[in-house]
């Protein structure tokens, strides 16, 4: 096992936001974290990304506790894509992607770093936009730049906080396909918080369902994300359909009050 999360809890101002969550991600594997707003998805993602530390529990990569690692080394292991991204008006696309190489750059930028930036941009077919300014892009293109930035980090584990939230359906499929292929090809792991249950169905190997910070299900998407589970967690009635493209979940109405 590669990335192991054991009994992670996180308190904010005495309030327990994540409560004893455990799961693991192997190489080439994608884990989707789903759950209602405020269920603790982002908190888990940020804890793994090294943005804040857990109150208790342990996160380890290949047996090493990440809290005992140098932040600089951790930065080379874990690449994070935020839900809301920030950029400045005067940065270009490739400069933004280059930031992913921060821990490999001392002062000047070597050809190798630039090649990695080129590769990351090309992976998302954004090569021709390298010289554009961030505010000249559409929202979806910007999000792809941020995903490319995480790819340039060349990490062992990608952690994504709703990476497709600003993307239209075409971009969503493109980005997810690219990320799945990269995960397979490079033997990386990916943890992704998503709202779209069908994305979890389609791309995740394992799904973790969170409700009020607690684990409400963990396992294969088709087995876990059942209409019954969705009713329990979201308070939404739904049904599944299956056709030649796979299995899909269709939410139909909110139950009042939510259970």
């Amino acid at each position: 096992m590669d990335l192991v999360i054991e009994n992670i809890s996180k308190d904010f101002d005495e309030k327990r936001v994540v409560d004893s969550v455990s799961f693991s991600v192997g190489r080439g594997e994608i884990v989707a974290i789903v759950g209602p707003n405020g269920s603790g998805k982002s908190t888990i993602i940020k804890t793994i990304a090294g943005i804040h530390s857990q109150t208790s529990g342990m996160i380890s990569i290949d047996g090493t506790d990440i809290r005992k690692m140098d932040p600089v080394d951790l930065a080379k292991m874990i690449g994070y894509v935020p839900q809301h991204f920030t950029y400045t008006l005067y940065s270009t696309v490739f400069e933004t992607v280059l930031l992913g190489r921060r821990q490999h750059i001392r002062w000047s930028v070597s050809d190798e770093e630039l090649s990695r930036v080129q590769y990351a941009l090309d992976s998302f077919e954004m090569g021709e936009m390298a010289g554009k300014y961030m505010d000249q892009l559409s929202g979806g293109e910007r999000q792809k730049v941020f995903i490319a930035r995480a790819l340039a980090q060349d990490p062992r584990v990608f952690v994504f906080d709703e990476p497709t939230s600003a993307l239209d359906i075409r971009y969503q499929i493109e980005v997810m396909e690219t990320m799945r292929t990269l995960t397979w090809d490079r033997g990386t792991s990916m943890i992704i918080a998503v709202h779209d249950l069908n994305l979890a169905y389609r791309y995740a190997d394992t799904v973790l369902v969170l409700n009020n910070g607690k684990m409400a299900g963990y396992g294969k998407p088709y087995e876990i994300l059942t209409p019954d589970c969705i009713r329990r967690v979201y308070g939404v009635d739904s049904f599944t359909i299956e056709n030649e493209f796979g299995k899909f979940i269709i939410p139909v109405r909110a139950r009042i009050p939510a259970e």
């Binding site: 930065a75 991204f85 930028v109 090649s115 021709e128 010289g131 990269l182």
Partner: protein, 390 residues
């Protein structure tokens, strides 16, 4: 998609080429700005109430340098004297007898003070804007200038009295020290307030604005209660200017400003990473709150050192970095030196204009600077389409 990732060279712009072309142009731009600063410094030394010819200006500077070196060697390194004397030419004294006093004694310290102040305020503004990701942040908006003026006003109004007596310093130094101390105090206060409420940038900026108003209230109160004579002195200080220039101030400031510059420049990549947001920066292994404290303290130090000698000089800390971002982009490795030089150029040119336009009467440098800088900035906004160097 990955199956198609092999770089399609025909339509892809090479990142390598973009990066290299951009770097070259940026370095050239910085070099050009450096030339502008040096040239305007030399020109400025020649013009003023008493005109000094170009030849005399250069001779005055050269002669005074050689005399200083000679004295220095004579006093501290007598062994090197024979080698120095062996140099076959000497710099003659300028034709006009008082040229050396005017150029070296009065104008050069003023020119240096303008350059140093421009540098320190511009780098402080650049770093503060980068640290807080807010384009409206400057030594002014974070309350630093108000606090420094309060310190100076307090020193002027209460007079040297007991405190200065205790510290064994003269009245002038007392004002400088008070301005500096209060400038720094305000930043510590701002940081402490925002810290106790969780370090979001907006609380920090808000705390800065509020602290700024509190100190402004203090300055107004002091203006109200003080007598006429001191009020005049106070107003002169608050308007800001290069009147306080002296070689001792310049020699003190040169190392301080240079050290601050290099300490901040070292953090250029971290500042770049911060532009992608706190969370991304943390994921990139940067200790964001430590970086923020470090950057704010050093830039405050640089700015309040200079403000203490010049009084309140606004605008440069805000506009210098803006103008540079528009021209040179957001890479702090280039942005910090570029702002420093642009700040120096703007302040030096403005100060020269301020002391020559209505000569022998001097007008406050702020008036000139706001006009020159404002027009330049508007010009940039209007033609901003061609932004950047790529």
């Amino acid at each position: 998609m990955v199956q198609e990732t092999s770089p399609a060279k025909s339509r892809t712009i090479s990142v390598h080429r973009l990066y290299k072309a951009g770097s070259t142009r940026r370095i050239l731009l910085i070099a050009a700005l450096a030339v502008v600063v040096v040239t305007s410094g030399l020109l400025s030394a020649g013009i003023g109430t008493v005109p000094v010819s170009a030849q005399d200006t250069l001779l005055a500077i050269g002669h005074s340098c050689s005399v200083t070196i000679q004295n220095f060697l004579h006093q501290y390194l007598p062994a090197v004297m024979p080698f120095y004397n062996a140099i076959p030419f000497t710099v003659p004294a300028p034709e006009k007898p008082q040229a050396e006093l005017i150029v070296v004694g009065f104008r050069l310290p003023r020119i240096f003070l303008a350059i140093l102040t421009g540098i320190s305020l511009a780098i402080a503004g650049t770093v503060m804007q980068g640290l807080l990701r807010n384009p409206l942040v400057s030594p002014f908006t974070l309350g630093l200038s108000s606090a420094a003026s309060f310190g100076a006003a307090l020193a002027i109004v209460i007079g040297p009295g007991i405190i200065a007596g205790l510290l064994l310093v003269s009245y002038d130094i007392f004002i400088v020290v008070m301005a500096f101390l209060f400038g720094w105090l305000s930043m510590l206060l701002v940081y402490w307030i925002s810290r106790s409420r969780g370090t979001t940038q907006s609380t920090l900026i808000l705390a800065g604005v509020v602290i700024g108003y509190l100190f402004t209230a203090g300055v107004m109160a002091l203006k109200y209660i003080t007598n006429n004579e001191k009020l005049r002195e106070l107003m002169v200080w608050l308007m800001g200017g290069m009147w306080g220039a002296s070689w001792s101030a310049v020699l003190l400031l040169i190392p301080l400003v240079l050290i601050c510059f290099f300490l901040l420049e070292r953090k250029a990549w971290d500042l770049n990473a911060l532009s992608a947001g706190d969370d991304v920066a943390k994921n990139l292994g940067i200790n964001v709150s430590r970086l923020r404290l470090y950057g704010l303290m050093i830039s405050t130090f640089a700015a309040s050192c200079c403000l203490a000698f010049t009084g309140i000089i606004g605008f440069i800390g805000l506009m210098g970095p803006h103008i540079c971002r528009m021209i040179i982009g957001n890479d702090h490795r280039y942005l910090i030196p570029c702002s420093a030089l642009l700040g120096a150029a703007i302040l030096l040119i403005s100060d020269t204009a301020a002391r020559t336009i209505m000569s022998p009467i001097e007008i406050p440098v702020g008036i000139i600077m706001y006009v020159i800088g404002g027009i330049f900035f508007l010009f940039l906004i209007i033609r901003a389409r061609g932004r950047g160097l790529y």
